[in-house]
């Protein structure tokens, strides 16, 4: 078999094989669990338009290789330029690219623009665990700063900010959210870059120390989903996991009610401290008594 047969045939196999692989693959996007089906639509649109171009280019090449094989008695056509063809191809490509960009930018506009009814929830990342903070009844999160962080105040909430007192703290890698609710997710890191990533939500964004970033989404499906870190954050990056459970609003309120507020946490910390001091004092007194 001559080389041109082999090369043309392999190109055909690459083109057809890639399409078949796509049709039978068991590996594709996870079933979506948020409002961002617009993203999936744009991915699919991009896939089919670009996929068509890809297959067309390969098949055209295979045909050229087959048809215009080398023969010593033949000459290639001498045609330095073909303005008409070049203009047509440029114009069609421009239209195609605009056709991909337009739905993409429309979807991005929605992604950037948080709806007014969205509630806030804060995700805090540190090497290598997640924690979360919900606003209390006032609906406002208290101010935070790195300098307030200590073992009694891991979130770094400003103790003087009244908005922070009723903040609900989830010092756990797992979190629960109600179904059918929009959330503006505020992202804060206390050490390095992280990225809050739940494949089924489609949305993600980096956590950047020194600033608060955000994204928004609406829960649309009940279930428990993996939370991963998607921005390299050191040697424990792959182990920075968690789970988010999307449950009915009733179950969510029940779960939230069982969590500790910042005021409660501070009170407990104060009690712990007093207890420790009391024990210390008692020990000193015993010691003194023994000496006497």
């Amino acid at each position: 078999m001559s080389n041109r047969w082999i090369v043309a045939f392999v190109l055909l196999v690459v083109a057809v094989g890639s399409v078949i692989f796509h049709l039978v693959t068991p590996w594709w996007s996870t079933p979506i669990a948020s409002n961002w089906s617009q993203i999936d639509f744009t991915i699919n649109l991009t896939f089919w338009i670009t996929g068509f171009v890809y297959v067309a280019v390969i098949l055209f090449m295979a045909w050229c290789i087959f048809k215009y094989r080398y023969r010593p008695d033949r000459r290639a056509e001498y045609e330095p330029e073909n303005k008409k063809l070049e203009i047509w191809l440029t114009a069609i490509t421009t239209v195609g690219v605009a056709g991909l960009l337009a739905p993409g930018l429309i979807a991005w506009d929605a992604y950037v623009d948080v709806p007014k009814d969205a509630s806030e929830v804060e995700v805090v990342g540190k090497q290598w665990e997640w924690s979360y903070r919900f606003p209390g009844k006032d609906g406002k999160l208290g101010k935070t700063a790195i300098r307030f962080i200590n073992s009694d105040n891991p979130f770094g909430i400003d103790p003087k900010d009244p908005n922070g007192k009723d903040d609900i703290l989830i010092e756990d890698t797992d979190v629960t959210l109600p179904i059918g609710k929009s959330y503006k997710v505020l992202l804060r890191s206390t050490d390095v870059l992280h990225d809050f990533y739940v494949p089924q939500f489609r949305a993600k964004m980096d956590l950047v120390p020194g600033r608060v970033s955000y994204f928004w989404f609406k829960t649309t499906r009940r279930g428990t989903f993996d939370i991963l870190c998607a921005e390299l954050c050191g040697v424990g990056h792959h182990a920075m996991r968690g789970k988010v459970s999307v449950v009915t609003p009733g179950d969510f309120d029940k779960w939230l009610g069982e969590q500790t507020t910042f005021a409660q946490a501070q009170k407990e910390a104060r009690l712990r401290k007093q207890k420790k001091e009391a024990i210390k004092r008692a020990a000193n007194e015993t010691k003194q008594a023994a000496r006497n």
């Binding site: 041109r4 120390p209 020194g210 998607a230 921005e231 390299l232 990056h237």
Partner: protein
């Protein structure tokens, strides 16, 4: 050139040593080691780049072993894994691809293709190589310091790059930054040479619009590099200061493992902007020379003029220019102001237009050609397949909203390996098979070449094509191990194992290529002059391989572009660039057939 009169010259004593004698090296050391001949420097650059590239290849095997067969290779810890991916990425992008395309092919081909005797600053050109070698040695040294090399990822993002949770954050990262700074110093010396040589040392008749596209690609890529590398340079200097002196360019207030650090007020995003202001043009620093070279390979072996030469040149220039205003598409989910997304998605997708034009013109060069399926041509065709594949996935990632679910997944890994790993490397192979006879006077073995081609092309395709689907699924990149998740089916582990096996096979196939190189250099079939019947100038030298000074006594004069293949009426199917119109042998029978 100024016309110097002869009046008064009779009083000047004759030189003791003739000028040409002074020009040529006298000893082995000045000829082959501290050589100022661009062709030798090219081989030094290429040899060093390929040697360190082999280290990068072995690193990729190690990381693939971990991904394909987790928990089996207990000698690979998470720390090792992150060091492997970091060094693999940096080595391949900077020390292999950039050095090989510009330092290797740039040095070898520019003077020959523009009709110059050498680069314009040969001494600086020599220094460029030795500083590059030093940079490589510093990079290698980081394996032998406490803590080992940095494991911060090739992007070296602070704060983690210089904090204790990242491998090599004590010494490895500093050596990496020093090595990069040295590389940039060395590159700048070479880069100025390439640009000035193209602008100032072209022979008579070699106008800019008669340059082969290889020279255009390398020329524009070098300008990009000269403008982009300084951003990385200052980034490296600032991060070194943050690390060594405790400044806070990139470091905000941080609590590290419960400990308050003294950094205040710096911006991690600033580094990302500096890095990608370099990093995105870097993609085109690798891609543009590949574009240029592959254009010449296709035209020569299809025996047809490159289609739409002027548009090809403009596409290279426009892509080069646009590559400076798209950098933040690497940062769509970085936490920067999301409104940037609109601008950068638009500029990024605009780049697709000139890039698509290049692809059309390559395949239209094949169309109505007289295609010889030589090894270089096969690699060129494989390049088009992999490049189009990697290019269209760029349309996914460039379109900001589509990037959101796919960023930081294996889709990105598959995309950039296809577009700036596999595709340019296929061009490098094609180029080596093409120009090896010029460099050595011998042909590479065709049978071994075919074996090397098929395993490399199909193997690489089988590695990276399915990998995109892991990304669609949501498998994150830079993961030492995924373990059990609710969204990844068990079959994904089988795919990972398959990819690893394919990667090992493709890697080992490169040994065949190395053997072919060494065997053919000494025992290969002697090449005739201009074995591919190429029209461009580098094949028209008096000697094969060309000697020091390239052109003997007289510089060539150029009368035409580099793509006169299949000219109607001419006796041969190609006319070299230095053949004057009146010297072209005409074939009257053919002329009649051509006109009828």
């Amino acid at each position: 050139m100024a016309d110097v009169g002869t009046v008064g010259l009779e009083q000047v004593p004759p030189a003791e040593v003739e000028e040409m004698e002074l020009f040529h090296p006298k000893s082995f050391a000045t000829k082959y080691i501290w050589s100022q001949d661009a062709k030798i420097i090219a081989v030094q650059y290429a040899g060093t780049a390929v040697a360190i590239g082999m280290v990068g290849l072995v690193l990729s095997w190690l990381m693939r072993l971990q991904l394909g067969f987790p928990e089996i290779f207990s000698f690979i810890s998470a720390k090792d894994y992150y060091q492997f991916i970091t060094m693999h990425g940096m080595i391949m992008v900077i020390y292999l691809l950039t050095a090989l395309f510009l330092g290797g092919f740039g040095n070898y081909l520019i003077p020959l293709m523009v009709g110059a005797r050498d680069m314009v600053f040969p001494y600086v050109n020599m220094l460029s190589y030795w500083i590059f070698l030093l940079a490589v040695l510093v990079l290698i040294a980081s394996w032998f310091v406490p803590g080992g090399p940095t494991g911060a990822g090739w992007t070296l993002y602070p704060p983690q790059a210089i904090l204790s949770g990242t491998p090599g954050s004590s010494t490895g990262i500093v050596l990496m930054l020093i090595s990069l700074a040295l590389f940039i110093v060395g590159f700048t010396m070479g880069g100025l040479n390439y640009v000035v040589t193209v602008l100032q040392a072209r022979t008579r008749g070699m106008t800019m619009m008669r340059l082969p596209l290889t020279v255009w690609g390398i020329f524009v890529a070098t300008i990009l590099a000269l403008l982009a590398f300084p951003a990385l340079f200052v980034g490296a200097v600032m991060m070194t200061l943050d690390k060594m002196l405790g400044t806070s360019f990139f470091m905000p207030a941080i609590v590290e493992m419960g400990q308050q650090l003294t950094y205040r007020g710096g911006s991690p995003l600033l580094f990302q902007h500096l890095f990608w202001f370099f990093g995105h043009p870097e993609v085109y620093i690798v891609a543009l020379p590949a574009f240029g070279i592959v254009s010449d390979l296709i035209s020569t072996h299809a025996r047809r003029n490159i289609f739409g030469y002027r548009l090809m040149v403009w596409a290279i220039v426009v892509i080069g220019g646009l590559s400076f205003i798209v950098w933040a598409h690497h940062m769509y989910v970085s936490g920067m102001n999301p409104y940037f997304g609109f601008f950068f998605a638009t500029t990024t997708l605009i780049i697709a237009v000139p890039t698509a034009i290049k692809v059309y013109n390559w395949v239209l060069t094949l169309w109505k050609g007289n295609i010889q399926l030589t090894i270089p041509m096969m690699f060129a065709i494989a390049f088009i397949v992999t490049f189009v594949n990697g290019g269209i996935t760029g349309l996914f990632l460039g379109n900001v909203i589509v990037d959101v679910p796919l960023s930081d997944t294996m889709f990105v890994v598959a995309h950039f390996h296809m577009v700036m790993g596999v595709a340019p490397i296929l061009v490098i192979f094609g180029a080596i098979y093409h120009w090896f006879p010029l460099m050595t006077g011998r042909m590479l073995h065709t049978g071994l070449g075919k074996f090397h081609f098929w395993v490399t092309f199909l193997g690489a395709y089988l590695i990276y094509f399915p990998m995109h689907y892991l990304g669609f699924l949501g498998v994150p990149r830079r993961y030492y191990e995924l373990k059990d998740t609710s969204f990844v089916p068990a079959s994904a582990a089988d795919l990972n194992a398959f990819i690893t096996v394919a990667a090992l096979i493709v890697g080992f196939a490169q040994i065949v290529f190395i053997i072919n190189i060494f065997w053919s250099a000494y025992k290969g079939k002697p090449s005739e002059k201009n074995p591919w019947k190429a029209a461009s100038l580098e094949w028209q030298t008096p000697g094969l391989p060309p000697g020091h000074g390239n052109w003997g006594k007289e510089l060539p004069v150029v009368y035409r572009w580099a793509y006169d293949y299949g000219v109607p009426g001419a006796k041969d199917d190609f006319i070299p660039q230095n053949v004057a119109p009146e010297q072209v042998e005409m074939d009257n029978d053919r002329k009649e057939t051509a006109t009828t």
